[in-house]
Amino acid sequence: MSSVKRVVVAAVCAALGIVLPMAFHAVPGAGNAWLPMHLPVMICGLVAGPAAGAATGLLAPVLSSLLTGMPAAPMLPSMTCELVVYGLVSGLLSSRVRTGRLTLDLYVSLVGAMVCGRVVGGLLQALIFSAGSYSLAAWAAGYLLTGLPGIVLQLAVVVPVAVALERAGLVEPRYPQR
């Protein structure tokens, strides 16, 4: 993928990171539960690499906060760090994991990114953003329980979208000889 296309893909995914939460917030409570901003960040990391994924993770929440007020300013730093980790790790794993099966590669990379992002998000909350008032129970409630529909959605959507993009010839194939 050329550097220009990588930047444009990161930007378009960031735009989706603004648009999808607007769509989900039309349904009461859907934004917090379904975590729509995570989807384009992870997809960008998987198909365009760690730098593009991290850039999307940075741009989407910051521009969304400035343009739409979501996420609210107090939540912005922690959410941005978490999303950057999702984009970075999904891209790093995607570029290194080669099992010979496209879907398995993508699921390994996706699950790795989901785990790393949640762990780093929790650590940042405990050490910086909510230092002294954060517990393992709060982490489990915030990242696992409230976001359970979001986890299901990420597992259900991200890999099919990445596969569809490859089949449509819009991203580089992982195994071009096939």
């Binding site: 444009v8 893909v9 741009l59 819009l170």
Partner: protein
């Protein structure tokens, strides 16, 4: 999802102001709104935002349109705060739910701040074209280029992101309507049914967005655009 962010073609002092100045102004204004906590401070902030809307000449309807798309979100925030924020001096109590004045005030504060930030963001995109925004970001980031920060790529990414928001919003709305007509609304049913509905909806949304990204990058490279600013070879690097 009726909100929209897009340039409004009128002439006003805000339209003529440099994009870099508007970006800095937006950051300062957002910081002031976030710091405002008392009713008087919030009223002053609202007055300032209203003055900016009047000065921009984009019209109240255009300036406030984005808020309509967030009405349920803002309502939920207000209700959640009013019912769960505090347990002391409840006006109404029903199990774990306690309606309190302090909670309602906290909810109103958050809703007011969010609404003001949304209007400020709408004003920026309504008075600044994407190309101007890209130039503004490039101007603001220029000092960081000496530290090795890829400012050209950052400016391009911000410009393309802002430019694509209204287009993708429109397309997503059309796809959501088509999906609702075929299979019912994606927001109904249990968690698994909704997840399947979202897959059916999101795959075409992403494929369409990536197709647009592909077309744009091909067009840019065909015109010799390079990220490092040097003129490139028409036809660009290897695709895709």
């Amino acid at each position: 999802m009726r909100s929209s962010v897009g340039y409004v073609w009128v002439d006003s002092p805000l339209h003529r102001a440099p994009a870099a100045a508007k970006l800095v102004g937006l950051l300062v204004a957002v910081a002031l709104v976030v710091l405002a906590s008392s009713p008087v401070e919030l009223a002053l902030a609202a007055f300032g935002v209203a003055a900016l809307v009047a000065a921009s000449r984009v019209g109240w309807r255009a300036a406030l349109r984005s808020l309509w798309g967030l009405r349920w979100f803002l309502l939920v925030v207000l209700c959640m705060n009013a019912l769960f924020f505090s347990a002391s001096d409840p006006l109404l109590s029903l199990g774990p739910v306690r309606l309190t004045l302090a909670g309602a005030a906290q909810g109103a504060r958050i809703v007011a701040r969010t609404a003001l930030v949304v209007v400020l963001g709408t004003l920026l995109t309504a008075t600044t074209r994407p190309q101007q925004l890209t130039s503004g970001v490039r101007d603001l980031l220029r000092p960081l280029a000496r530290l090795g920060v890829p400012t050209e790529a950052a400016a391009l990414a911000v410009g393309v992101t802002v430019q694509f928001v209204p287009t993708l919003l429109r397309e997503s709305r059309q796809l959501m309507r088509a999906q609702a007509l075929r299979c019912g609304p994606a927001s109904s049913g249990g968690i698994m049914r909704r997840a399947v509905s979202y897959v059916r909806l999101l795959v075409p949304v992403f494929v369409s967005a990536f197709r647009r990204a592909d077309e744009l990058s091909v067009a840019m490279e065909a015109r010799g655009y390079r990220i490092d600013g040097r003129p490139g070879r028409p036809g660009g690097e290897n695709r895709p």
